[in-house]
């Protein structure tokens, strides 16, 4: 039976309720879950932690601008096949010349075409029941890719190139499919129609505190408070690139080894702010703001 029990996150990963429910729904219905949201909100983390927690196989397909369905499903390795098929002739020639050394095909047999099929993550996922298949950053893909992909997935069946072997998976053992997107490119409507869609909202301060606790359980509470105040203030001032979850976690990692008092001082002086701010113009803006009015900058970090 497919893994369709409700999963609420693990001790390492705080799964937003809505996301957990959407994920459960997708698995129960056997549809892919399409997750969108700001970068650094843990889209990719979901399937990773889920598969870790439930001890399931995880297959990852990182999408790039040259992705195509062949890579995703399976392709035939022509080069190896040609090489191996020549080896027999070569070996025969060598034998004629009384040469001892023989070339090896590494256990592959040119007679069996299946030996030369390189299976992609989709096929691998279909072959291991109840696995998890992550298709990461689908918005990077060429335009046709999403639709080709769904066509392939909706049949629950792949036919291997050249060998003609059929890889099939039952509805019950269908892998849990998670697709992430950063919305850099609009995905085709038909594609979205076949997915369960979930948009991750940016976590509010309360949720963020819980996330921080999962990642840095030992850190002083006060330090987290001050750091989160600064963090949410920076998100409010309208920077070109607002800092995200990933960045606050990194910043706290830097601050963590310090004694609380020292840490708070460092935070208030915005030390190591490079972990949060990623563009030069943003950095300049903030430095100017702080230089002009250092106390004020911090005080303003409470919502006005």
């Amino acid at each position: 039976m497919a893994e369709t029990s409700y999963w609420e996150g693990s001790d390492k990963y705080l799964c937003d309720r809505e996301l957990a429910q959407a994920f459960h729904m997708a698995r129960t219905l056997g549809m892919p879950l399409l997750i969108e949201g700001e970068p650094g909100t843990g889209k990719t983390e979901l399937p990773i932690h889920y598969s870790n927690d439930r001890k399931l196989d995880l297959h990852v397909y990182p999408v790039g601008s040259k992705s195509n369905v062949d890579q995703f499903v399976a392709r035939f390795d022509h080069v190896k096949y040609l090489r191996d098929s020549q080896i027999e002739i070569l070996n025969a020639q060598r034998a004629e010349k009384d040469l001892e050394t023989k070339l090896s095909t590494g256990g592959r047999n040119p007679e069996s075409l299946a030996d030369y099929v390189v299976k992609g993550p989709a096929t691998q996922a279909f072959q291991s029941p109840n696995s998890v298949l992550l298709i990461d950053e689908i918005d990077k893909a060429p335009r046709e890719f999403p639709n080709d992909l769904l066509y392939a997935l909706s049949h629950r069946k792949f036919i291997m190139p050249e060998s003609g072997e059929t890889i099939e998976v039952s509805e019950e053992e269908m892998p849990a499919i998670v697709i992430t997107s950063n919305r850099e490119q609009e995905l085709p409507t038909a594609f979205k129609g076949r997915c369960i869609y979930h948009y991750i909202h940016f976590p509010d301060q309360e949720v963020m505190r819980q996330i921080v606790e999962k990642h840095h359980p030992t850190i002083n509470e006060k330090v987290v408070d001050v750091a989160l105040d600064v963090f949410y203030h920076l998100r409010r001032v309208g920077l070109d690139r607002a800092p995200t979850t990933r960045e606050i976690l990194n910043w706290l990692k830097y601050i963590k080894p310090l004694a609380p008092k020292e840490a708070i001082q460092k935070i208030e002086k915005l030390e190591g702010i490079g972990a949060l701010i990623k563009t030069q113009t943003d950095l300049e803006r903030i430095q100017q703001g702080v230089l002009r009015n250092p106390q004020d900058f911090m005080r303003r970090s409470t919502p006005n």
Binding site: R17, E36, H78, I196
Partner: protein, 442 residues
């Protein structure tokens, strides 16, 4: 079931069709839908495909299932307070509450929202507390019979669980529809969907009275947040271009990048690598990727009518340039083109029209102007120039900041429209212009 749902949700600009119903049906079959909150969640997952659809979806949902009409820009709390549904729910709730009523209106709304958005996930967590209570409840055995009539009688015993596992899918679906119909009829609104005091009106479980923490389910909180945030509503596609929606335009203009993953046989590559392999020719494939984006922008910056748009338009194409870093040429003209265009906004550096026409024919030309001038200004020479531009650059469009309804009142606009495809300078207009461009072969 819910035959009217797709059409109803489409009115809110959402994509709902027969497939929506099929997936919903499957979800009911798979036991995913047990409460009204579940209906919200499941439909959201199926229908919403963009963050900007969450707002319209929430509005459509409240109207369709709860008969609560959220007006444009209205806060969720206000809409609920206004509604008949809430009033009836409140009366019933207060009636059934044993203890003295000491809750503020705000608490009441929270409780109402919690019950609207109560999902079966919440119940599973909460029921354990009431389970003990239920175990020594003698009525539990009878519950199965009672459950059939619960839709008709609003008086339901609290803290009991109803078990519908014997019912067929069809019966369940029928019931869902029936409750919805009753919810929308004026006389018996109120608590058909939403249990007062915590029992779920539809489904396997219920929670004990006070079993739900206020604000505990989260769904209501989110709905509230969505209603107050413009990010969850679509940008008005027909609004005129401004600094605020330049980024949205940029997204639509992205369509001018032609990309494809088609593979082509790379003949020179195959020969080269084949020779390197000692005569073993293996077909080399090459991605046929065409990202050539060459753009000419012709901006009418004369006359006061164009003044408000020049900065925005320039910003738009500047942003575009940094985003795509392709070939972009900007020229200026006043009202119409005679023999020259200008390469600077002050119109001091003239570029002969013939030189402009020497550009590669693959350039895409955007002309931005109101096309309105005195009829004598648009003389035969000028018309010939526009025709020449259109003839040379097949992918030419005119973007007009004037509202479409005025176009027919201006003679010159009508004339120019006949020569060059004209679109309004709105987000939707630009989107259509880009689509039209992509249709033309250079």
């Amino acid at each position: 079931m819910f035959n009217s749902l797709p059409a109803y949700f489409r009115n809110y600009g959402l994509n709902a069709d027969v497939r929506t119903l099929l997936v919903l049906r499957k979800a009911v079959e798979k036991n995913l839908v047990k409460t009204l909150g579940d209906v919200y969640n499941v439909l959201k997952g199926i229908i919403v495909k963009e963050p900007t659809e969450i707002g319209p979806f929430t509005r459509a949902y409240y109207k369709y299932f709860l008969n609560i009409d959220i007006l444009n820009g209205e806060k969720l709390d206000d809409a609920i307070l206004r509604s008949e549904t809430f009033k009836q729910w409140k009366n019933k709730y207060l009636e059934e509450a044993d203890q003295e009523f000491d809750e503020s209106l705000e608490d009441l709304i929270n409780r109402f929202l919690d019950q609207v958005h109560l999902t079966h996930y919440d119940i599973k967590e909460l029921v354990s507390g009431s389970k003990i209570f239920d175990e020594d409840n003698p009525d539990l055995e009878d519950q199965e019979d009672n459950s059939n009539s619960f839709a008709a009688s609003a008086e339901r015993p609290l803290n009991k669980m109803a078990d519908y596992s014997d019912l067929s899918l069809e019966e369940l679906l029928e019931r869902l529809e029936k409750i919805r119909a009753q919810q929308r009829s004026k006389h018996s609104g109120g608590s058909h969907w939403i249990g007062t005091g915590g029992i779920s009106a539809y489904g396997h479980g219920g929670a004990a009275k006070d079993g739900i923490r206020v604000g505990g389910t989260g769904g209501g909180k989110m709905a509230r947040k969505v209603m107050g945030n413009s990010n969850f509503f679509p940008i008005d596609m027909d609004s005129i271009l401004s600094d605020n929606n330049v980024d949205a335009v940029l997204n639509s203009i992205k369509g001018v990048v032609e990309e494809s993953a088609f593979e082509k046989l790379d003949v020179p590559g195959t020969i080269k690598t084949g020779l390197q392999r000692g005569g073993l020719f293996i077909p080399e494939m090459r991605h046929d990727k065409n990202e050539k984006l060459q753009i000419i922008v012709l901006i009418d910056n004369g006359g006061w009518s164009m003044a408000p748009y020049i900065k925005t338009v320039r910003d738009l194409f500047k942003k575009m340039k940094t985003r795509f870093s392709h070939d972009l040429k900007t020229y200026y003209f006043h009202n119409t083109i005679y023999d020259v265009v200008f390469s600077d906004p002050n119109r001091s550096k003239a570029v002969p029209i013939d030189k402009l026409l020497l550009n590669d024919k693959n350039y895409r030309v955007f002309i931005i102007g109101d096309a309105a001038m005195s009829p004598y200004e648009l003389d035969r020479r000028s018309i010939r120039n526009w025709q020449a531009i259109q003839k040379k650059f097949k992918k030419t469009v005119w973007l007009n900041p004037e509202p479409v309804k005025y176009w027919n009142h201006t003679y010159t606009t009508q004339v120019l429209r006949q020569i060059i495809n004209m679109f309004p300078l709105t987000i939707r207009g630009i989107e259509q212009a880009v689509l039209e461009m992509n249709r033309q072969k250079a």
